[in-house]
């Protein structure tokens, strides 16, 4: 079956939050069991070099929904009426739209990330939303301190080490209130999202009309609470560990707080959680097939970012996204697309970014060349004329080898990174002048004034003071800074990075 735009009626977009690319079998991991996602990868097109540009959760959604880069413009912010989203463009077209999600940052008051969807189903309980249940009585047999390591909380005298200790126990307590009635895997967060998705796909949607469905599962994001934690069994990826399960860890550097053995166990719990997510997400893909939708539905599966989880290549000394550090383990993301009529099993090397995913979806939906205007009834209509991404369809059909020479990544106003075939380079916006000229013009009037850059108060804006250059072939996880050895390369990349940010800033 050759690709025919008219035959692709539907799009299912599946976002799995905090799914690190190299924790999947299809990206080369030999240990972690992800049979459903691996099978999907074999039948779809897998992108080896997909990078999220603006981090973390919210900027990624913003880029995907608007088709525009966020790094030059802003970070953790609500959608504004100046933004044109996929669903704004689809308004007035014969396309039913649905968002089923438990990603609480998208649900933040006034943030508006459910805007324009015909059907919205939010499953409460995940991070930022778990405090909704702070007053629910907790089963006295469930103690927050039993779900983390005591040495992360108390010093040798039995006192809290610092404010992070209390915050950690409070955070765990809130999750326990939520999950205390859990009886099986079907009560997990990902299962709830998947079951509600199944209900919409099987029953709720109008089966006579095409649809765009966005499924956003916060799992496998922490808390690291895979089945073994609830069943009181050893974690299958670390059966010999003898301490408490570690549901969460403090928002501090790893050194002197989280031991290497504890980091290893956290990674094992994360692996087990990924296996659980794989099992449930497989049900959505199976359902698409069972309903006969496979040959008329584009399916995209991706993550917004990975996760720092320890020392070295695991996280550069931090646990969770507690610093605005755009290293490989965070910014390199898994991305796969099934497009009916496009040959499956391909592995694409070209750099791609989130805005390209949006352009591809709209290209396949025949909406890429649309322009904003006014309808016959005098209503404003919106087009894709402000998109900054490239459709990946020519790439998937073998018409071109690449859509970009490099990728960018970072945190608005704090860090910029450029990733090329040979090098990766990180530019820290550390001094006040750099921070306050985020549109890269010295002395610009635009100031970096975001009160919130990530979802947790425990995170701190601490950054290295020197820019970093890494050999991407011999050192893909950025452990040996060679900026001093190759200053000419570092300078060239910084200029390229600033020029590109400037280009994006003016388009």
């Amino acid at each position: 079956m050759a690709f025919n735009r008219k035959k692709v009626k539907n799009v299912v977009f599946i976002m799995l939050d905090t799914l690190q690319f190299n924790y999947l079998g299809c990206y080369g991991n030999k240990k972690i069991k992800t049979p459903n996602i691996d099978r999907f990868a074999r039948q779809s097109v897998l992108f080896e070099n997909a990078y999220s540009e603006g981090l973390p959760t919210i900027p990624v959604r913003r880029a995907l929904m608007t088709g525009r880069f966020t790094l030059p413009y802003g970070g953790w912010q609500p959608l504004t009426t100046d933004d044109t989203t996929i669903t704004d463009i689809m308004w007035g077209k014969n396309m039913q739209t649905a968002l089923i999600y438990d990603t609480a940052p998208m649900r933040l008051a006034k943030f508006g990330y459910a805007r324009g969807f015909d059907f919205v189903d939010f499953c409460p309980g995940q991070e930022l939303d778990h405090t909704s249940f702070a007053d629910v009585p907790l089963d006295p047999s469930l103690k927050p301190e039993d779900f983390t390591s005591p040495t992360m909380v108390w010093d040798k005298e039995g006192n809290f080490i610092d404010d992070d200790s209390k915050q950690l126990l409070d955070e765990i307590g809130c999750f326990l209130r939520q999950q205390q009635h859990r009886r099986s895997d079907a009560d997990s967060y990902v299962a709830k999202v998947v079951n509600r998705t199944q209900a919409w796909l099987n029953e709720r949607r109008d089966k006579s009309r095409p649809f765009f469905l966005w499924v956003d599962s916060f799992d496998p994001h922490e808390p690291w609470d895979p089945p073994s934690v609830w069943n009181g069994e050893p974690c299958p990826y670390d059966p010999n560990y003898e301490g408490n399960p570690i549901l969460l860890a403090p928002w501090t550097p790893v050194e002197n707080r989280i031991s290497e053995r504890e980091c290893e166990h956290i990674r094992a719990l994360y692996m087990e959680k990924i296996t659980l997510v794989d099992e449930w997400i497989g049900k959505i893909i199976d359902s698409i097939r069972e309903q006969g939708l496979w040959d008329e539905t584009m399916v995209v599966l991706m993550s917004d970012h990975g996760q720092p989880m320890g020392e070295g290549e695991h996280g550069h000394g931090i646990m969770r996204k507690s610093r605005p550090w755009p290293y490989e383990e965070l910014v390199h993301v898994p991305l796969m697309m099934h497009v009916p009529g496009v040959e499956g099993g391909q592995r694409i090397q070209s750099f791609v970014q989130n805005v390209d995913v949006t352009a591809t979806i709209m290209d396949i939906m025949g909406q890429l060349d649309t322009e904003s205007g006014v309808s016959d009834h005098g209503m404003n209509t919106y087009g894709a004329d402000e998109f900054q991404g490239e459709s990946l369809l020519p790439l998937m059909q073998g018409e071109v080898d690449k859509v970009r020479d490099f990728a960018i990544a970072g945190y608005y106003g704090m860090s910029w990174s450029i990733i090329t075939d040979d090098y990766s380079y990180i530019h820290w916006l550390v001094d006040e002048e750099e921070k306050n000229s985020v549109d890269c013009v010295a002395g610009s009037e635009k100031t970096m004034s975001e009160e919130m850059w990530t979802c947790t108060a425990g995170a701190k804006v601490e950054m290295p003071s020197h820019n970093e250059l890494y050999d991407r072939n011999s050192d893909p996880f950025q452990l040996k800074n060679i900026a001093a050895e190759k200053p000419e390369v570092a300078k060239e990349l910084l200029e390229k990075l600033k020029l590109y940010i400037g280009e994006l800033r003016t388009t």
Partner: protein, 103 residues
């Protein structure tokens, strides 16, 4: 599209302009080229606006007088006088909004 002006002509040019925008640039500034592209797009949708450019390194008098040390700096001219000055980058949408705000 741009008329080039310098230290010797900028005062009279501004005085004779009803509705115009001057970009003060530096030759080695890549962002100035980006901003010129924005002005070209803006020009297509805004008849009646006159566009000028001035090399701020080669014309120190005008640079100091117009407070255009930063590059690029845009100088908005209305009825023979400067109505606003703005340094930095804007995209076409922001450019249009800013232009309207200083009318």
């Amino acid at each position: 599209m741009f008329t080039t002006i310098d230290d010797s002509t900028y005062k009279n040019t501004i005085a004779d302009t009803k509705d115009g925008i001057l970009i003060c640039f530096k030759k080695q500034c890549p962002h100035c080229k980006n901003m010129e592209k924005v002005l070209e797009k803006f020009a297509k949708k805004n008849d009646g606006v006159t566009f000028y450019k001035l090399d701020s390194e080669e014309n120190p008098e005008a640079r100091d007088e117009l407070s255009a040390e930063r590059a690029p700096t845009l100088v908005f001219i209305k009825e023979g006088a400067i109505s606003a000055t703005k340094a930095g980058l804007m995209n076409p949408k922001e450019m249009t909004a800013y232009y309207r705000s200083v009318q």
